[in-house]
Amino acid sequence: MAGTLEWDELAGRTGPAIRTENLTRDFGRVRAVDNLSLEVPPGIVFGFLGPNASGKTTTINLLLGLLEPGSGRAEVLGFDTCAQADEVRARAGALLEHDGLYEQMSAWDNLEFYARIWHIPRAERAARIEELLRQMEVWDRREERVATWSRGMKQKLALARALLHRPPLVFLDEPTAGLDVVSAAGLREDLAALAAREGVTVFLTTHNMTEAEKLCQRVAVIRQGKLLAVGHPDDLRTHTGSPQVEINGSGFSEQVLDHLRARPEVSAVETRDGGLIVHLRGDADTGPLVSLMVNEGANIEEVRRGKASLEDVFLTLMEEDR
């Protein structure tokens, strides 16, 4: 199969799946991607996080060779995205902003079309389409026009299409955007299972931090085209998010909060769902804080130490960049 050869090619490669050096792209006066330099190791799910209009989709378009950079360069699977854009597209799969499905055609015909595009031999085409449709649990509806499907099912089919030719690298542009909670969770499960089974490198853009936390082994945070941070989610939490203590109970008066804020080891205090989140400076001991609160009349039911979530890290980075 055509994809097998490409997979063998990738297996022989030692370099990163994606490498960009000072990649920059302007649209008129707006700088969509600003000196972006990053490396994506092969075989991982890489999360590219950022708010709306932060340059995520433009970056994918640049990496697929659909747009040319104003300056800087990018290599995908060892190929230059300007000079060898055809080679990049011949090896990568993509699920872009829109699912890109032909709604008046059946699910089978949608996959058949792309199987022909990828030159999957006729003998293997049907088996591969069946394999993916069964994995996505839409096999029984393969002859229906896609227009009659739910958004979640369409996204599953689009994901199957992106993986059809067994690409070593897949670009997924906000694949769960617009899905309800159940469909999004289902798609995430499918995505994680497929990525593991097919050993594919996934470049995933999202502004959903939970999604990134669950799926990604490495994340980059981008804002207004600029890279703010990159690393393993745990590393980002360590370096960017402060340690925190979640305290549940009652009697958290303004006086209690003021006394907490006055403590040198406390950087911030916020109330959440009736409890408190106390952000600490360094690895401070929580015992004195609990004593202080009890002495002030608070009733403490539970104290839980935790790390900042990826969402906290993201919000901190956004705030710092402002």
Partner: protein
């Protein structure tokens, strides 16, 4: 490359006229003109339909309508339905996509012209049957085939260019129809008026046509149409580029 072009044509064939309402719109648009050239004209003209160049009317009107409906669906439709970006992110070359869409539109235009010419023959036999099979004179039939193809190519070229500039299928269809229908209509009305008003003009035109000769006149017009078609195809090739389409 050939395989990729055939793949795009396969998809176009599968997907064409399947958008909601497009089949009905196509049928309604084509009903009256096709009835005119496939039924009314042969019914009224009898043998004159197969022995004169009147059948060329079918070779102008039918491809204009068929292609005018299919090309915007194939190109502006991809943008309108958000399928173009995914197609451009695939391994297909720009030219394979363009030629695939171009090829199917020309094929549709040409085949539908031949079908209408055959329908006209059926009408002729029903209305004027005298015990003998009637068919177009060979030179006329060849001219019909040639012009059906050239008009299909010309309108496809125009359709691609308008579709690249249009956000929706409807916008592209309206612009294309206005351009391909309006000039022939104006020229026809103007020509008829002048031939009736200017003394001796009919005679002069007749003399010029006789001097050039029927075959040569056909070849000259065919050459002009071919040249225009190639020019439009070259322009379409220059404009149908990923970087342009991704930004639009």
């Amino acid at each position: 490359m050939i395989n990729d072009i055939l793949t795009v044509m396969w998809k176009e064939r599968k997907g064409i006229f399947r958008q909601r309402g497009s089949r009905t719109r196509a049928l309604l648009t084509m009903l009256v003109p096709v009835a005119m050239v496939a039924v009314y004209f042969p019914w009224q003209m009898g043998l004159g339909w197969v022995e004169t160049y009147w059948s060329l009317v079918a070779c102008v009107i039918v491809p204009m309508l068929t292609v005018g409906i299919t090309v915007p669906d194939a190109i502006a439709g991809e943008r309108e339905h958000h399928t173009l970006a995914t197609l451009l992110a695939s391994r297909l070359s720009d030219r394979a996509i363009l030629f695939g869409k171009f090829g199917l539109a020309v094929t549709y235009g040409w085949v539908s012209t031949v079908v209408v010419l055959i329908l006209a023959l059926v009408t002729l036999h029903i209305a004027h049957w005298d015990g003998e099979i009637m068919f177009y004179q060979p030179s006329i039939f060849l001219t019909d085939l040639l012009f059906g193809f050239l008009i299909s190519t010309l309108v496809t070229g125009l359709g691609v260019l308008f579709s690249l500039r249009s956000a929706t299928v409807q916008e592209a269809q309206q612009m294309l129809m206005a351009v391909v229908m309006f000039p022939p209509l104006v020229l026809g009305v103007l020509g008829t008026f002048l031939l009736g008003q200017v003394a001796g003009l009919r005679q002069t035109v007749g003399d010029v046509v006789s001097a050039i000769g029927g075959t040569q006149l056909v070849l000259i017009v065919a050459g002009v149409l071919l040249l225009l078609s190639l020019l439009l195809l070259a322009t379409a090739m220059a404009r149908f580029r990923r970087s342009r389409l991704t930004m639009s």
